[in-house]
């Protein structure tokens, strides 16, 4: 057993670290540290900087312009990125649809779609869930009926994150209804959001922000060359995707950063007197999270080590999802607790524009805390709720 990095890995880490210290834009950094929501432009600009350095398509094979990194390299990259609080990538293009395209798509599709993703010219969003199909995703009802060389799509997708920025959407649609298992008859379709009949309706989430959307399809005509792979195989492709990029699902690197911030925050005296960390109850809660996070980090490393020796990550990624989301939410709750009464003011405008810290209501980022706390209740719901993950483990690991 040996956790030491190889010389090459250490060198890699140093290069990455230097990159972040030199190329991470100051203005984006300031926004992030002040808890200000980034604009679409900010995100695109940052992704292009990453791509110029060759650090954007971390999960892609080299032949399509990816980094071809090992799991350990990806882990180190994630860790360094989180350590400076750099914004995470918008996953829908680079991490979600791209692997489906380069794995199952035609050559024409690869040429048509991958370069735009690589250069952040096209913004993708995801069309999986439907109002009636949440945990039971395979019961989806959005229809794509063949009509000549087009599919005619009708239905509604929901929880479409950042769909308001998107140029294209990848969807699971039902191309056949007369099937024995509802998983059959589902196909994977790429749809231009500017096609007539596509409309996007904002969903305001609990904290008051516009992050997710409903996307409606009303007789939307989609050329057949935008079907990925075979008709009726969409469910299989979607499942492959789910198991494809799981090493960072637990969000350990980001949670470590947040824990560090919280520890720093809790050591500050409120009024020249005692600090929050002097409260034995709070101190113990922080310690519990630190222990749990270390346990999760090593669980992730164990998974990584199996992947590195060629084992595919299996249902254990469900464990990472469960614990990862639980710990994120625990950190949210502790941040709320640290903020005390200043968790209560709801002043979204001071996070939309750059209001100097000393002119904000409350101290530091405290009034931003509740936004994250409320919003992040989704962490245990989306991407397959934690209940669904437990069902998966019960069935596939415990054989129940």
């Amino acid at each position: 057993m040996n956790i030491d990095l190889t010389r090459e890995e250490r060198q890699f880490r140093d290069v990455i670290r230097q990159f972040f210290s030199e190329k991470y834009p100051q203005d984006i950094r300031q926004k992030r540290d002040a808890g200000i929501t980034l604009s679409k432009d900010d995100m695109v600009r940052w992704q292009r900087i990453l791509n110029q350095a060759g650090y954007f398509a971390v999960n892609w094979p080299v032949e399509y312009g990816g980094t071809g990194w090992s799991p350990v390299q990806k882990y180190l990259f994630d860790t360094e990125m989180a350590a400076v609080n750099a914004p995470p990538l918008v996953v829908f293009g680079v991490k979600m649809v791209a692997p489906i395209i380069y794995t199952f798509g035609s050559e024409a599709q690869k040429e048509r779609f991958l370069p735009d993703i690589l250069e952040s010219r096209v913004w993708w969003c995801q069309g999986y869930s439907e109002p009636g199909a949440g945990s039971d995703l395979a019961s989806l009802k959005t229809r794509a009926d063949l009509d000549g060389d087009h599919y005619v799509v009708n239905g509604t997708k929901t929880w479409t994150t950042l769909g308001q920025y998107a140029d294209w959407i990848f969807c699971l649609v039902r191309t056949r209804a007369d099937v024995a298992r509802k998983q059959e008859g589902i196909s994977f379709l790429l749809i231009d959001m500017t096609t007539p009949g596509v409309s996007v309706k904002p969903i305001i989430t609990i904290e008051g922000e516009h992050e997710v959307n409903e996307v409606h399809f009303d007789n939307v005509r989609v050329p057949c060359d935008q079907l990925v792979g075979e008709e009726g195989k969409g469910w299989t492709y979607g499942k492959v995707l789910l198991q494809h990029e799981r090493t960072s699902i637990a969000g350990v690197a980001v949670s470590k950063y947040r824990l560090g911030q919280l520890q720093k925050r809790s050591r500050q005296s409120i009024d020249g007197g005692s600090a929050l960390i002097d409260d034995s109850s709070f101190r113990r809660k922080i310690a519990r999270v630190e222990i749990a996070l270390k346990a999760l980090e090593f669980t992730e490393l164990r998974t990584l080590a199996s992947v590195a020796v060629g084992k595919a990550p299996g249902p254990e990624s469900s464990l990472l999802k469960i614990r990862g989301s639980e710990l994120q939410q625990e950190l949210d709750a502790l941040s709320m607790e640290a903020a005390g009464c200043y968790a209560l003011p709801f002043v979204p405008e001071q996070y939309d524009v750059d209001v100097p810290l000393d002119q904000r209501i409350g101290t530091g980022n405290d009034t931003n805390t509740s936004l994250r706390y409320f919003n992040n209740r989704k962490a245990s719901i989306y991407g397959g709720s934690n209940e669904i993950q437990k069902n998966i483990i019960a069935k596939h690991v415990l054989g129940l």
Binding site: S129, G134, T205, G273, G340, P345
Partner: protein, 375 residues
Amino acid sequence: MNFSLTDDQTMLKDSVSRFIDTAYDFETRQKNAGMDARRSESMWQTFAELGWTAVLFAEADGGLDGGPVELALLMEQFGRGLVIEPFLANVVLAGGVLKRVASEAQKSAWLTPMITGERQLAFGYLEPQSRFDIANVALTATRDGDSYLLNGSKALVFNGDAAQTIIISARTSGAQTDHDGISLLAIDAETPGISRRPYQTVDAHRAAEVEFVDARIDKDQLLGQAGGAFGTLQQVIDEATLAVSSEAIGIMQTMHAKTVEYSKSRVQFGVPVGSFQALQHRMVDMMIACEQSRSLLYWCLMLAADEDLQKAVSALKYQVGTAGIHIAREAVQLHGGMGVTWELDIAHYFKRISAIDVLFGNSDYHLDRFASLSA
């Protein structure tokens, strides 16, 4: 031993409950929450006309002689309806101070018009540095002839933007966290030297940060004894704690009921999600947590005049804090994606109960207070 309500109490409960059902649906609430600082003035007038602003005060002061039971009944229904009107600020906090220590003249000036709905009050008992310690008062009131000069800040003053009169705790002597040396003062909100920064809170209530820079007020605006207000302050905050705890119970019970109903109607995998045993047991746990909270409320109501009341209030607040957050998280989780949308009332119950945990000391604070009173 008897847990029954009197006929008058039953009538009060039924009337508030009916009002919530018929005149305070979620849509109305959300519409009013979107309005400006004063919210719906007509709604507040209705509260006054129905006598709810009068319930807690002595008949001599124009009140209805109600006590903790009446307060709990009102607040539980307000919790159920997610009421955003400034009842806590006007009636329980500011009114709670005035009924305890104000002179007749002061009551006429501030309490009577509050009860009739003509005047808005607020009570500033927190400061930016005080966290949950109501004795941590840095704002100074310095005697200067027949006036006091006020300097300092009050934080999270509920209804602080709409209030015409703001009552504050101020330090007239002693060190920053001494129990002795705290005084209560009633201040016209338009007094020169006062600036207010109003905002909405996450639960759609209104509050303000209030700054005092050499604000001068008359010595007659002192409420009760100079320097001896801590006991009153504590009583008022304990009563307010009982109030929001009752509100929390109304919220918990509603969230639980709505979750159970949702689980019966939401179909996944061909069956209602409420048929899954893992979720059933979690809904039972929610029910138990809610019932245990109600039981502690009963304890408090039985003790109303007793010396153990502080201890009981802390037990209750600890319980509604932990049970409330537990129930709220489960309710959201069991509603799935719908639970985190602004559109559904569940999200707003969640936010209100999260706010209640912070008000007047969170669970940890009250657990420690309980333990120290128990030792």
